[in-house]
């Protein structure tokens, strides 16, 4: 093994080439094991990246990518010129902001609350309950919300009716759409989101708390001056990841929640790609929309990561 390390640092010579061959033969099983995985990434990840070229063509399936006509930026121009573009932009953006403001802080608060519980059994009991929704599918989550909020005998509306004598069309009223989406995300993921913060909290040195109490700090002050700074970097990393996925507004969830009545507030880039591409067969156009989204997403990840590093945090990579 030492010889190989040395070989890497010297410029390649003939004997090194022989060494390389010997190396490959010696480790042949390792290379054979790599084959299925590499094939997977090439076929299902990299060929689709090549397939993006259809965004610059008038793609028809029977001509294929090699035979279809090149049209340059035609589809992009159409997309940016469409009045729908701004609707999509607004919907995607607002949902992302709502999730950031109303959803993101909640797991932190919940983790801080759980962290104050000293009775292990009680803590585990609460955790068991709040983790459950994470494991059910979005179809189930949306289904459960539909069943609870429907005006046709849903429990929430029955309750509202007996209290106020009125029903609210939570599912049909476009004004309720974003509230519903954020509510579902909170119900499904808040408990699960606490795990990472609880883990970060368990690493805090208990002596710090003792010292703080000697100095007369109460629980609020201990939380503010010790606990929160201790999980600062975890919070920042998760914030970056969220920024990176800013445009991925929970595609399955929104796809499921879309109805003809709430399309104006609910349609986002992803669902638009599905509608135009797979239901209306405008392949090139929707591939162009998808590419636009991927590029903006990539820029967001890289930007957020650079920013985090500027603030002296480690960043994700």
């Amino acid at each position: 093994m030492k010889a190989e390390t040395a070989a890497r640092t010297r410029p390649a010579t003939r004997s090194d080439k022989n060494l390389l061959w010997r190396d490959i033969i010696k480790n042949r099983w390792l290379y054979i094991m790599l084959i299925p995985g590499v094939l997977y990434f090439v076929i299902f990840k990299y060929i689709p990246m090549y397939g993006i070229t259809m965004a610059f063509q008038d793609y028809t399936p029977y001509k294929g990518i090699l035979g279809s006509d090149w049209v340059g930026f035609k589809h992009f121009q159409r997309f940016f010129g469409e009045p729908q573009f701004w609707t999509l932009f607004r919907n995607t953006f607002l949902l992302a902001i709502y999730n950031m403001v109303f959803f993101f802080p909640l797991p932190i608060v919940l983790a801080l609350m759980m962290n104050e519980v000293r009775r292990e059994r009680f803590k585990r009991f609460v955790q068991t309950l709040v983790y459950v929704p994470h494991f059910v599918s979005w179809v189930v989550v949306v289904g459960v919300f539909y069943m609870l909020f429907t005006t046709e005998g849903g429990a929430i509306n029955e309750l509202l009716y007996s209290l106020t004598g009125q029903k609210v069309a939570f599912l049909l009223e476009p004004g309720w759409f974003r509230t519903m989406i954020v509510g579902q995300s909170i119900w499904k993921e808040v408990g699960w989101g606490t795990i990472i913060f609880l883990a970060a909290l368990s690493g805090v040195d208990t002596q710090l708390y003792e010292a703080a109490r000697m100095d007369g700090a109460n629980r609020w002050r201990q939380t503010w001056h010790i606990t929160l700074p201790a999980i600062r970097s975890t919070i920042i990393i998760l914030l970056i990841l969220r920024l990176g996925n800013f445009l991925d507004t929970g595609f399955e969830q929104i796809f499921l929640m879309l109805t003809p009545t709430n399309r104006d507030v609910g349609e986002v880039f992803d669902t638009y790609v599905y509608t135009k591409g797979l239901t209306q067969a405008q392949y090139s156009y929707s591939a162009a929309v998808g590419l636009f989204k991927s590029v903006v997403g990539l820029a967001l990840v890289l930007g957020a990561n650079t920013m985090a590093k500027k603030f002296g945090e480690e960043g994700v990579y």
Binding site: M1, M33, F41, K45, I47, T128, V132
Partner: protein, 290 residues
Amino acid sequence: MQQDKTWGNRIFDIVNHGLLLLIGIVTVIPFIYILAVSFTSPHEVAKGGFILFPKEFSLAAYRYIFSTDTLIRSLGVSIYITVIGTLLNLLFTSLMAYPLSRRYLRGRQPILLGVLFTMLFSGGMIPTYFVVKSLHLTDTLWSLMLPTAISAFNLIVLKNFFQAIPDELEDAAKIDGCNDVGVLFRIVLPLSMPAMATFSLFYAVAHWNSFFNAVIYINDSEKWPVQVWLREIVILAQSRIGDTSIEETEIQPLTIRMAVIVFSTIPIMLVYPFLQKHFAKGVMLGSVKG
């Protein structure tokens, strides 16, 4: 941190415990409600109100489910893709993760970079659809398993896990005449059981819950997994309510829709207690998972 027994601290503890208990209960009440309604007679449901325990116990909704071919068949499809799909995931992921965990392997760095890049950028839905279609996978169950055979994230985590296993074990096994395949299956994998348990959990849950790939790739309703039927029966039916052009009979009664939700969730709820002890560990393996 042991806190002083002052009044302020006591009140804080009581309020905190109370709030947490409330949050926990609010989280599971919808499930209890759905479960209760699914076991209640349609007659009682029609009277309305919030049911948390069925007064008139009835199995009618479940009898209906088990009398239909579609739902039973879809259950079979879901079980199939979950079991086979998860096995494929584990095999593919560990076969690739092991060579990548060997620091001396040439070409390891570019492959890892290639994998990382797929986490940042992707071809998107339409080009991927054409790849699956041109491989003639559409309308087969493979389209639900192969395109998700490896999760790049899990691959990297597993690679790091393998890397932490002492090299001396590998050397010893090789001296005893094992080749690399033998080292992986006889030494490394048995030592990685906690990680494998966690990954099989995550992969299996993803397969059981997946429905969008089936919506895209599978037209033949005989091959629909249970989540797709759930959407048909619960969500699409619901959004058709109020649409007068739809015949009343197409929309299933509330109890049946609730029972379908329960039916499609039962497997997860059954394994939940067994899996629970792995969660925290599994998430920490990944160190960060947003």
